[in-house]
């Protein structure tokens, strides 16, 4: 089964797609990347993900798997070659899943708020929440890494991939809001980790540069403004 054809429906600007690319690279899996125009979704995407109609979708042996976190776990379970993405210890696995869910459901949505918020006071309040979240993640990093360089230990693992895939957008957010979010005085471990993780073989060339993402965002906002004024 592991030798069947692998396709990834995605868009390079999506951190959710990036995380699947990193996982596939980590496991040295050959795959076909099918670029989706999110403004005009393909029949294949709509058929493969009828519930959410979103990227990424991994298609393996003609079967679609949706939702980035589950795709990453699926890859880890099918391709059992090393390195393992999830830890082997059940408590460490539960901890990794907990932080991945926290990052996706509680922490990263704050960036959407940051983009939309009006006024300096409101902006400062959102920035404070983002930084508080990073302080929690710094503690998590210290505990999970156990003195090594990644959340996953010696090699990148689940939380590295989940949080790492957002780093392009984190940097874009810092530029657009003119604010430092990853701060060596508050989260020194994470600052070092952030520099390291995207240089890793599996991750480099995957996460786009912040300027590219800012351009993508500007195009999207112009298109939305145009659509809503029609």
């Amino acid at each position: 089964m592991a030798t069947s054809v692998v396709k990834l429906l995605g868009a390079q600007s999506s951190p959710y797609v990036n995380r699947v690319q990193i996982a596939l690279n980590l496991k040295s899996i050959d795959y076909e990347f099918i670029n989706e125009n999110l403004a005009a979704k393909s029949d294949l995407l709509l058929k493969s993900n009828p519930i959410y109609k979103k990227v990424p979708v991994l298609i393996h042996a003609d079967k679609p798997i949706c939702e980035s976190l589950f795709i990453v776990e699926y890859i880890d379970e099918v391709w059992t070659n090393s390195p393992s993405i999830l830890p082997s210890d059940p408590y460490d696995r539960a901890t990794a899943r907990f932080w991945a869910a926290y990052i996706d459901i509680k922490w990263f949505p704050l960036f959407g708020e940051l983009r939309q918020v009006k006024g300096e006071e409101a902006k400062a309040a959102v920035v404070e929440k983002i930084v508080e979240g990073l302080v929690l993640l710094e503690e998590a990093f210290v505990k999970c890494s156990k003195g090594e360089v990644y959340f996953g230990g010696e090699s990148i693992g689940y939380v590295d991939i989940i949080l790492g895939s957002y780093l392009g957008w984190v940097k874009a957010g810092e530029i657009m809001a003119s604010v430092k979010l990853l701060d060596e005085t508050k989260t020194p471990g994470l600052v070092g980790w952030a520099e390291r993780v995207l240089l890793n073989d599996a991750a480099k060339d995957v996460v786009p540069e912040p300027q590219v993402l800012i351009e993508v965002l500007n195009k999207f906002m112009m298109a939305s403004a145009k659509a809503s004024s029609n």
Binding site: I51, E67, F70, Y74, V78, P90
Partner: protein, 232 residues
């Protein structure tokens, strides 16, 4: 690690707590249940789940595990020799089970919460339609996952049975309060039969609260919220 040092911080009306209780029973794990009184939060809860301050929290040998579906997977992995696996062994089936459990938690069950708050008939009707459409999707998922057997998990209760089944008390409570049948044998016959089977299963029947008791809890919470709003 000794199974006697397993604690569950919970509250009986919570479907998320019920999930963990069902799984602990399925895996024959002895544990100490610590009912958390609403709305207070004990020191132990705040210390064990500082990020969300919510139940359920499983404490295993002093290590806390939070988030019900994460706890369910943890129990399945630790007590992997006790009974059948809750998650399918095939990675694709496993991804499907996780997908549908997340759909139920993130998309479907929140509709019930909206329905309870909805004031106008039109809003209610729209939400009921959305809930019913979701159940039709879950009916298709049931047919695919069960492969002709009794449960989403096949012959025995599995991850997805627990994820959806834990909400059955609240679904019935919602049907009584709104006067609308959500689980309808004309639209989702497979799910209707599955629901009856799940609720009468030995492991489940003493865990899921009666809908009437849940309605009482809901009325009490609503009364408290009203009192708090009018006293400020």
């Amino acid at each position: 690690m000794a199974t006697s040092d397993v604690k569950l911080l919970g509250a009986w009306p919570s479907p998320y707590v019920n999930r963990v209780q069902i799984v602990l029973k399925l895996k024959s794990v002895d544990y100490e249940y610590m009912e958390q009184s609403f709305p207070g939060k004990s020191e132990l809860l705040l210390k064990s789940n500082p990020v969300y301050k919510k139940i359920p929290v499983l404490i295993h040998g002093d290590k806390p595990i939070c988030e019900s579906l994460i706890i369910v997977q943890y129990i399945d992995e630790v007590w992997n020799k006790n009974g059948p696996s809750l998650l399918p062994s095939d990675p694709y089936d496993c991804a499907m089970a996780r997908f549908w459990a997340a759909y139920i938690d993130d998309k479907w069950f929140p509709i019930m919460g909206e329905l309870r708050k909805a004031q106008e008939e039109e809003a209610k009707a729209t939400l009921i339609k959305q809930a019913a459409e979701g159940l039709v999707l879950l009916e298709e998922a049931f047919l695919k996952c069960s492969k002709g057997k009794d449960y989403f998990g096949g012959e025995s209760i599995g991850y997805l049975d627990i994820a959806l089944g834990s909400f059955l008390g609240w679904i019935k409570a919602g049907e009584i309060m709104s006067g609308v049948k959500l689980l309808d044998e004309t639209k989702t016959p497979g799910l209707v039969q599955w629901a009856q089977r799940f609720c009468s299963n030995d492991v489940v029947k003493d865990v899921l609260p009666e809908p009437e008791k849940l309605i009482e809890v809901l009325k009490m919470i609503q009364a408290r919220l009203k009192a708090a709003a009018t006293s400020t």
